[in-house]
Amino acid sequence: MTPFSTAAPCRRSLLVQCGVAVGSVGLAGCLFADDGESDRGDPLDGTVPSTQYDVANTGSTRAHGPSDPTLRWTADVDVQTGQPLLVEETFVCRSSDARGDPLYGVDTATGTIRWETNDDGFYDGTGVLVDETLIAHRYSPGSDEHELVALDRSRLQPDDATDSTIGTDAIQWRTENDHRLRGDPVSVDELVYVATEGDLYALDADTGDVEWRTDHRPSTPVAADSTGVYVGTLDGEFVGVRDSGEILFVVDLGHEPTTAPTVAGDTLLIGDVGGTLTAVDHDGSKRWHAEGTGPLYGSPGVAGGVVYSPRFDGTILARSLDDGGERWRFDAGGDHRRSFVTDVTRGQESLYAASDDGQLFAIDGGETRWSVELGGAPVGAPLVADGAVAIVTDDHELRVYDDGDSS
């Protein structure tokens, strides 16, 4: 045990983790395992370019998850990974490292590293994929020096098979003198929208040049669409800004917003610390709101006119997107710690959500389809792709479940 620290925990003993993995899936799945290539499973198809799948934060995918989840492999990643990205059969994750916190490309088939950044930077979150560029947040520990960096994806493949590190030459542009980010940025039509602790701004995805900036103080990550960008603020407001920088609306919520906004067609959704989920139009007029116990932290998933809202009280409510009317209610049971505080994912056949006491649920129509014990609390939403579900937990594990040999 090390002296207490509020910073990201250090990397744990990999040998210990490998030892744990032996009992369930064998060494092949353990990151840094020294037995080289693994033949377990096929790589996962699909692309998840940003947190919650898209710029609108719908948390919705046409992909299927497993029917009979079996742990395929685990890998050591940092908790600030949140929900990983998925591109070209690789999960983009963050990992603690003695010389920095690099970004990793983790092979979806084996859990081994395909590439890692090697630029002495500490990364927060995983960023957003914009065409051939990965835009991520980097900072210097113990300082207020934060920046966005654009990494050329084509350079995120090591030339030398024996050296998987990526040098600074992968960096296309970088910002300076930034604040700490509120979640990962999103990108629409060559603009990148960024919420920090101090402001909201848009920059050119190709050059990194700032297009506009507002002095709102975000309390949430952003969501966007072709009209503009949306964010909650520490002043208890829900703010919409056109892509040109003109204010669309400012809605007083009465409480500090705590969930990333969700864009569902004409409807914008946001949850607050008072437990209220509010739906507004693009002009800011309120459509409906739903109150509840405890703060809302997890953004709702939206699909087929239904809003799936995870709640602190251990329930998930399915509501009509039109009027907020309740469709069904899922109660996870358990004690007061069985709470939903991360985003949910709506897959093709089920809703996927993980409770803070470390249970991963697949839910159909308000009933449990299956559940598995994760061994740690989730730090981001489940990622569903190609018959598998992946999730990062606070014990520094990226876990991937699929249907095992039956798949």
Partner: protein
């Protein structure tokens, strides 16, 4: 409550100590009294109250096992208290946890010393914005470079945030040496 023998090496013990040539270099232990990050704060369902369901950790030594580090160790904490503070700065509730000595420990750690884990629950009418650990030896501990913990919501966030202390926006700090215990006077 009796105070256990508790001696500190002068402040030189804090930080890496390099001894004479030919002798081994070692990092002196930092003793602590801290919250476990799993400590939970949340509203009570179907109720207007709030619950703090927490754990406290302490690191100390058994004086009978101290040989070559005389005068450089902590062998107990007494009057250990958790203060739950509201948005107006007043103490909403407190949990008195008593004393911790090696005799209370059920584990040792690789770096040396005993680790004690204790748990507590506190219910409050209003949402907490700060949890403060305190003990009778706080001032001496702090001045010797050891760590006593507080967790709080940064000012910009309004009360009502809940969840494990490990998650945003809760932030942890070592208490400063001039940090007085929360005022519990009526």
């Amino acid at each position: 409550m009796s105070l256990h023998r508790r001696r500190f090496l002068a402040l030189a013990a804090v930080g890496t100590t390099t001894s004479l040539a030919g002798c081994e270099e070692f990092d002196p232990l930092v003793y602590w009294l801290r919250f476990h990050l799993d400590t939970w704060v949340g509203p009570v369902p179907e109720d207007d109250g709030w619950l703090v369901d927490g754990r406290v950790e302490a690191r100390l030594h058994d004086p009978d096992e101290i040989d070559d580090r005389d005068d450089s160790y902590v062998d107990g904490f007494s009057d250990v208290t958790v203060f739950v503070v509201g948005s107006d700065g007043s103490v909403l509730e407190r949990a008195d946890l008593g004393e911790y000595t090696a005799g209370h420990a059920d584990a040792t750690e690789e770096a040396g010393g005993y680790v004690i884990e204790d748990s507590f629950t506190v219910e409050t009418a209003d949402p907490p914005v700060e949890l403060v650990l305190d003990c009778a030896e706080f001032e001496d501990l702090c001045e010797a470079g050891h760590q006593v913990h507080r967790y709080f919501l940064p000012d910009e966030h309004e009360p009502g945030h809940a969840g494990r202390l490990a998650t945003d926006p809760w932030q942890g700090r070592d208490r400063a040496c001039d940090d007085e215990s929360p005022d519990v006077s009526p």
